[in-house]
Symmetry: D2
Subunit: 278 residues, 4 copies
């Protein structure tokens, strides 16, 4: 008997939970965990159900479609590791953490390949017997470089792309191939600092907390729907290089937390925000 | 149209959510928020539903009883401030925070009275026009003192007793008058320290984190079901008195968080643990 | 025998600690705690020393001036509560916390008066027998209103002004009367939100952490040197009003922490950052 | 010009800072950072100074000995990676984090070898070209097993032993070979749980926070001087296995923080507590 995850989101109306759980009940499925949320501002309904039993998937989905609004989004899957391609540049901290977690299966994750625009991280990746592709941007236009990256990535048909400190901006065209399926991590500060070397700016401002935000990538750079955020306290005695080192630790933790949530199908995206059933 | 909170807990079985939401749907009630949890270890089901509509409370509860296991616990209430009596001794930090929150209605709370075994806090309490009762323990046995406290408390028929740094141990007999309705706050450490002056012991051990636990009182002193816990970092430079001062700040915050949760009917107790729908 | 606090900051040069502690040693003063920091980026030296003994203050300061760079800033004081005037508007959460702490002397603080541009908080303030002054801004230009506030404030000759949710912007002229002596608290987010109702923006963006920053006021609104920052986790289920309520709790805590540090003379300001000897 | 770290601890007396900095000043050494602390309870003085310059180490130490109490402990070293042997069993989470940090030199650490009582982690360790020694305990008495471990360890003359989830208790005799040079990590809870499977106990108690403590090993198992502690929030929805997984993440972070501090010579031990100059 498999475990299934059912995800539904649609405009809210009376009786949704009753109707949905009715379908599961009549198919004699056994609900293990159920989370719903109605965003009253947008009037939108979100539901995630884990159940077990003998499930004829197509029949259940059809039965649900029959009783739910036309605009509903339904997914019904068994629990399986998500197929992921990582994009990286030179920094190892997020990548190495994910390679270790992949090796020991402590995220619901199957890393298919790493694509990087520098060769720096090849020895690390190859230690873990993961294919490493160098796609240098040198001498290429952005369009050409993205096409080259895409040709490697698409060969793997990943569920998700994870930007493990990939230091290049992805075009809207590239993103449109993986809507809500590209996840990025970047440093965050209170207040925010715009421009070059934000850690130096944070140092000069004497910030007392630095953080990291993991988010889905959208057309607005670093401003897609937030999945997780994390912070650590710092003080005046840290140089900006030490702030950056502390920032790397918090980045790797925030990214791992976000991927755990996304890869367990706990995250919904609606407009520019996420609903996360932890 | 009022807002109602329905709380149900019972042994788990197939179809519970479907059946319960069916009752609400057929009474044309509008579910605003729904939380369920099944503790798979104990096989127990917990559900909290906020709904609005024209509700004939008795009819709805009867309909629910008709379809749920005999051992079910059901409560259905409108959202109303909880009536509370506070017990205190000499320390003001939790009491003053609650008096302010009561005055500005930022907890779902109506403080009816404060009972203390010392007179120290009378001026503070009376500033806020709350009745203050001194029930000194001097010259009394514990049985006599508790009887005197009880006679004051029971006059108010409170929903909850809150021990806002009440430094006396309540007997099992006293507790049995308010099962799962007495809430306490106490300091917590990693590791735990047993015996007199735990802050001094924490100082001598050089702990780096101190905390506080808000919990329901049960027969095992300071070991009832945990509602909230909170911590703050400390370091070697703090004297034990400074550790204690830091501890007071974290106690008042943890207690306020716990009361917010309990007084919004978000906390279930089963055996020695809580289920908290935040 | 009193306890003294000596604060020195000046451009760094070799031997400063040796020279300074030499003066204390030769006056037979007993160092209880010593903190120094050299900001290597700016080449600036900061030192805070607590000592006890029979101290002829003028002689000690003169001896220090004789051996330190001309541009040195020296202060030598006994430990005394700071005289403070609070400015407020309508929100009580920071003000009430400070009134309680003042009443129980758990900050090194003596609140002389509260000045507000609305009458809302008068009953609260008067409970604690602190003078409350309404200086309404209605019908006044900013210059006229600030002059009226100033005439009340200056009558008290406070060491510090604390803006306990004072919702008006202070002009550069007003600020110049209290350089580095005005402390403000405001909400903070990752990322930052500019414009009206930042909590609503934070809600729409689905932020997972909200925070507060206590800082000295300077000519750049909300961008003066940061003293403390604090955060709390939130999630998608909070309305923006609930985010704002959570924000108020973190504001009151961050402000109290900042005032503890400043009023114990632990905070230095240099350029746009602080050095904080916790 | 090298950077040096001078560490001094001795009974407190007047003028220590002045005398010590005098020696540095007269040798024309340039103090970069200075931290002192006097534990007033024990009357003990701790000082850590970073300085640069042309340092004749023996001369400086002799000059310091000449002016300091007989019982002083002085160490003067250049900044060099600490030579470390890791002891492990089967769990990878702390070990892999340290192997990565070692490979990228982001702790002041040089891992010489890993010794384990199971062969599970060999492939991981050998990926990083670190010698791996299996010293099985099967069929050996504890004395025999420890002797076998010791013979491997001592061949490397490490500065520190780090127990990266080494699941065996070290005898007092073994410990005495590495006084204050063995560092351990273990889970921590509020409240503490004694006995088998503490995560299961924490689950049954419904704890809301779990943590980890990194500490020096002493004769009292898991009760040596604490270096760092860290916590994460959890809730009722986690199984005990999920609590344990969350615990592993906090263990690896707390251990890395502790090692950073110890390996930068920022940690003093006195009696059963540490003084940590962060």
């Amino acid at each position: 008997m498999s475990t299934y995850i059912l995800r539904i989101d649609c405009p809210d109306e009376k009786g949704l939970v009753h109707k949905i759980t009715g379908v599961l009940y009549h198919h004699e499925l056994n609900v293990l965990r159920n989370d719903e949320f109605v965003d009253r501002t947008s009037g939108h309904f979100f539901m995630r159900t884990e159940f077990s039993g003998e499930c004829q998937e197509e029949k259940v989905v059809n039965a649900l479609r029959g009783i739910l609004p036309d605009t509903v989004t339904i997914s019904l899957t068994t629990v399986q590791p998500k197929k992921v391609v990582l994009l990286a540049t030179k920094e190892h901290h997020c990548l190495s953490d994910l390679l270790i977690r992949n090796a020991y299966k402590d995220l619901n994750l199957d890393i298919l390949a790493v694509v990087a625009n520098h060769d720096t991280l090849r020895p690390l990746v190859e230690k873990f017997n993961i294919p490493f592709f160098l796609v240098s941007a040198e001498g290429l236009t952005r369009v050409e470089h993205e096409a080259a990256v895409l040709s490697v990535v698409e060969g793997y048909q990943p569920d998700y792309l994870v930007l493990a400190k990939y230091m290049r901006i992805l075009s809207a065209e590239f993103q449109s191939r993986f809507p809500r399926r590209i996840i990025n991590i970047h440093h965050s500060f209170l207040p925010a600092f715009v421009g070059a070397n934000p850690y130096r700016q944070a140092f000069e401002r004497g910030v007392k907390i630095i953080g990291a935000t993991a988010h889905f990538v959208n057309e607005h750079l670093d401003e897609g729907p937030i999945i997780t955020q994390d912070v650590i306290p710092v003080n005046h005695s840290k140089t900006w290089q030490e702030l950056a080192a502390a920032g790397r630790d918090v980045e790797k933790i925030a990214l791992a937390k976000a991927l755990k949530l996304v890869f367990e199908d706990r995250v919904f995206v609606k407009d520019n925000k996420t609903v996360v059933f932890e």
